[in-house]
């Protein structure tokens, strides 16, 4: 594998890992896998693009706007589409359809508001997407920063789960009613998770925008790769998601030099499906214990 392929794989892999982590943040206390997550990432990129290019906000200001906007949308989604379904029954999977519906609504509304053309987004100050030739490796400073930021974010999220609030989240995932008895409010946790999961998705969109451009096409492709990373790395496991994200990014980058884009996705799909057949709980998971 040549070094340029490695760089491409690591850069895209970082994005997949971030999407997977945003899935996990939502999933852990609620056991809901948000089918609109890809569209939340996309929306983050769009809001950021508008805030920075149209409104002329500085990078950090536009970032804040994007995070808050997408976080609030995540919260609204939880209130409208998830909480009412879970209120009927904890084992109800109606949220599969309701979150899918939310994804349709977001992607079509954004398509109407922003139009189909991709918007170019500048990287933050001091960084550049101008490719450098550094000892024969084609890389730019933004790519390096993205890889580092991804590592830092994942480790930071892992630390959060070790705090008291983080443990409450894990306890709720394990047993909602028992958590309730321990004075944890699952409804509040679930709202917070959707807000934070949404904000994290928004952040992922902002980080992806300088590389992939901001466009409505961002949603479906990141949704699938992000899901693949989350599933391969075992749902709920953030370090697993990080490693799996890189595995998928690298596989894809290697595939790109051999296959045309249409086949590339098919190859990843077949690989992930095969892996799930052999190891249904992913590479780093343990089987859930059945409860009666």
């Amino acid at each position: 594998m040549d070094i340029d392929t490695l760089v491409r794989g690591l850069v895209n892999g970082s994005l997949y890992a971030l999407v997977a982590v945003s899935f996990n943040i939502l999933y852990r206390p609620t056991n809901v896998f948000n089918f609109a997550q890809g569209e939340l990432v996309m929306l983050g990129a769009m809001v950021f693009a508008s805030a920075s290019t149209l409104m002329g906000l500085p990078w950090i200001g536009a970032l804040a706007v994007a995070l808050v906007a997408v976080g609030i949308l995540g919260l609204i989604e939880e209130r409208i589409a998830v909480a009412p379904v879970l209120a009927k029954s904890q084992h109800n999977t109606g949220w599969v359809i309701t979150t899918l519906a939310v994804s349709l609504i977001i992607s079509n509304l954004v398509g109407r508001v922003w139009g189909p053309d991709p918007i170019m987004v500048e990287p933050p100050p001091l960084l550049s997407t101008q490719t450098l030739d550094w000892t024969g490796i084609q890389i730019n400073s933004y790519q390096i920063a993205l890889i580092i930021v991804t590592f830092v974010m994942v480790l930071a999220i892992e630390r959060v789960y070790r705090t008291r609030h983080g443990k409450a989240v894990l306890a709720t995932a394990e047993d909602r009613e028992a958590a309730l008895l321990r004075g944890i409010d699952p409804a509040k946790l679930s709202r917070w998770s959707f807000f934070l999961g949404g904000a994290f998705a928004g952040l992922t969109g902002v980080l992806a925008a300088p590389i992939l451009y901001a466009s409505t096409a961002l949603g479906p492709s990141l949704l699938l790769k992000g899901f693949a990373a989350a599933a391969v790395g075992s749902i709920g496991n953030n370090r697993g998601a990080l490693i799996a994200g890189y595995l998928i990014g690298l596989t894809e980058a290697i595939g790109a030099s051999v296959l045309s884009p249409g086949y590339q996705e098919a190859v990843i799909f077949v690989l992930v499906l095969t892996l799930l057949l052999l190891k249904p709980h992913g590479l780093f998971g343990r089987p859930f214990t059945r409860t009666v």
Binding site: N31, F33, F35, I80, A81, P84, V85, K88, H91, T93, G94, V96, I97, T98, L100, A101, V102, S103, L104, I105, S107, N108, L109, R112, P220, L224, F227, A228, A231, S260, P261, G262, Y263, E265, A266, F269, V272, L273, L276, L277, P280, H281, P287, T289, R290, V292
Partner: protein, 606 residues
């Protein structure tokens, strides 16, 4: 038993004739309306959608596995038919069979990972499959001819005659009716009860000996095969097959059709497709807003009418026809007065030795031994968290044990799945009743007989005499068990409509229906009134005296003292005491575990 529904034989034929006449009349409508061949074309298309929607409804509505990529399965049927007939001059029928088999085969492949995972994995995998497939059709030009698609699909031939537009319409309509009947017969049989159990309470399916994997697989195969059939007709009806026909939007369209009509209702997909067929006409000016509108409709329906149009209609009819009920006391009095006779049960002995089970660092069971013989009742008591339910779950095969032996009727159960253990004659009830709320009480009891039915799927689908006879006999038996537990009057009510105490009785009837020779009851007395408690005590005594082995986990010590001949006290996973109830309850260690140190010290020594 005498007061059940009117004899089914007399009732059967008249409605069938009426239904056939109505169906023929309804299907002839396109011929009488103006619009001519275009209308016929559209009606044929509607029939194609109905076939696919019926399959998706079986999968998503009954088995509870949502396919978000149904268009891909249609595409396989359509492309296989188009390519084989156009490029290789196959006959339509042979090509369609290949398409159906391919579609069903891929359905199985998508389904395999979801066997050991939660439901939404399947949804995601099908979604991913549809998106990838959409691109593959374009990319794999050598096979699919890329964007241009396959053109000039010839109409089907029938003994040398080319089927015209009208014949094709009748063929599709006939196929739709056959598909509808297949699903109807399946849903009304043990498979339907199994599907709903897999969807709502997998634990109940396992306890009844039904394999969730096999049932899911059946649902996947039927849904994918129906999509393949629809795809084959799609190809000959449109005569052109292009990648644009099978986008992700098309999958959403099918999902919406089924949700709109009513998930898990027989007529839902038919109504949904009919209504949906009108919506594009209404939305004509809003073409570009279509997907947004779809999304909004999906969301609103799932939140406010999860059972769609047909579900809302059914609920309305139920409310109108709800019959007034006599005072519950009267019914209880009659059944208590005359206990129903029941043939003896050949009880299965339970022998547990040295059982250990750890959850992480916690020893839930530590060296536990239980012995219970036929015709006796063994009670397991202990404070909350002492491992009682874990013990039942390990014996029932719901949890794997770490060490020890469990023998049912002398057979070691190590490594057996829950449904295999159920097959040995173990019946159980759950701490919170696990009933299928959307089914009637008698259907809930019939779920227990899942593994006892001998009729094969084809017999059930075709309603052959053996399947019909067997279904009738089992139904009569189920009503007998309801009589036995004293709630025969509620047989036709929905499980969600009966009070908690009676739900427990339904669970016991279900276990007996499954041929339980070893009955494990998990806190049967919890939440019962005094009257109900007396009835429960009598019922358990009767079952025990018939010869069954009864193991009961219970906090209600009066009940335990009066029915159990042997008591085992668990405390933090260990056996604290075992023996006759009077000895065990007098043991100071037991009193300490139950009531605390001070209570024992304060009490006068006896």
């Amino acid at each position: 038993m005498a007061s059940t529904a009117p004899s089914p034989t007399r009732m059967r034929y008249l409605p069938v004739v009426a239904q056939l006449a109505f169906a023929a009349a309804a299907l002839s409508v396109p011929f009488f309306l103006s619009g001519g061949s275009y209308l016929l074309y559209v009606a044929t298309q509607l029939g194609v959608y109905v076939v696919a929607a019926i399959g998706l409804n079986l999968l998503a509505g009954y088995v509870g596995q949502v396919s978000l990529g149904h268009a891909a399965f249609l595409a396989i049927g359509a492309y296989a038919t188009a390519l084989l007939t156009v490029d290789h001059q196959w006959s339509f029928w042979a090509a369609a069979v290949v398409g159906i088999v391919l579609s069903a085969g891929l359905g199985v492949l998508m389904a395999l990972p979801s066997f050991r995972l939660t439901t939404w994995y399947f949804a995601f995998i099908t979604l991913a499959f549809a998106l990838v497939f959409e691109k593959m059709i374009v990319e794999w030009r050598g096979l699919t001819k890329g964007f241009a698609g396959v053109i000039g699909v010839p109409p089907p031939q029938f003994f040398g005659f080319e089927l015209g537009q009208k014949a094709l319409y009748w063929l599709v309509a006939g196929t739709a009716i056959v598909c509808f009947l297949i699903v109807r017969n399946m849903v009304k049989s043990r498979f339907g009860r199994g599907f709903v159990a897999v969807r709502d309470t997998p634990a109940a399916a396992l306890a009844a000996g039904a394999s969730p994997q096999r049932l899911k697989m059946l649902g996947f195969i039927v849904a994918a095969a129906f999509a393949g059939i629809a795809g084959a007709f799609f190809a000959v009806q449109k005569t052109v097959v292009t990648p644009d026909d099978f986008t992700a939007d098309f999958s959403i369209f099918f999902l919406l059709t089924v949700v709109l009509g009513g998930l898990g209702t027989l007529w839902g997909p038919v109504f949904g497709a009919l209504v949906f067929f009108l919506i594009p006409e209404l939305l004509h000016g809003l073409e570009s807003w279509r997907m947004l509108v779809y999304g909004c409709i999906l969301l609103v329906l799932m939140l406010f009418a999860p059972q769609g149009l047909v579900g809302a209609l059914n609920a309305g009819v139920r409310r109108l026809t709800a019959r007034p009920r006599g005072a519950p006391g009267a019914a209880a009095a009659t059944s208590a007065a005359a206990p129903v006779a029941h043939p003896p049960i050949a009880g299965a002995a339970l022998a547990v030795e040295g059982l250990k089970k750890r959850f992480g660092g916690v020893a839930a069971l530590d060296d536990v031994a239980v012995r219970a013989g036929p015709g006796t009742c063994c009670a397991i008591v202990g404070p909350n968290g002492s491992g009682k339910t874990t013990l039942l779950n390990v014996v029932g095969g719901f949890y794997e044990r770490d060490e020890g032996t469990v023998q049912i009727d002398g057979r070691e159960t190590r490594g057996m799945s829950a449904q295999a253990v159920a097959g040995l004659g173990l019946g159980r009830t759950f701490q919170t009743p696990r009933l299928l709320n959307d089914l009637s009480i008698v259907d809930n009891v019939l779920l227990g007989a899942f593994t006892r039915e001998r009729a094969w799927l084809p017999e059930i689908v075709l309603r052959l005499p053996r399947a019909r006879r067997e279904a009738a006999a089992l139904r009569a038996e189920a009503l007998g068990y309801l009589d036995f537990v004293g709630i025969a009057d509620r047989a036709e009510d929905l499980a969600s409509e009966v009070p908690h105490g009676q739900q427990r009785l339904v669970e016991i009837a279900r276990a007996l229906m499954g041929g339980a020779r070893l009955l494990m009851l998990d806190e049967p007395a919890a939440g019962l009134s005094m009257v109900e408690l007396d009835k429960l005590e009598q019922l358990i005594s009767r079952i025990r005296d018939l010869g069954a082995t009864v193991v009961i986990v219970e906090h209600h010590l009066d009940l335990v003292a009066s029915i159990a001949s042997h008591v085992i006290v668990l405390d933090r996973g260990r056996v604290l005491a075992a023996g006759a109830p009077s000895e065990v309850f007098a043991d100071p260690a037991v009193q300490r575990a139950y009531m605390g140190e001070r209570a024992v010290q304060g009490a006068p020594a006896s």
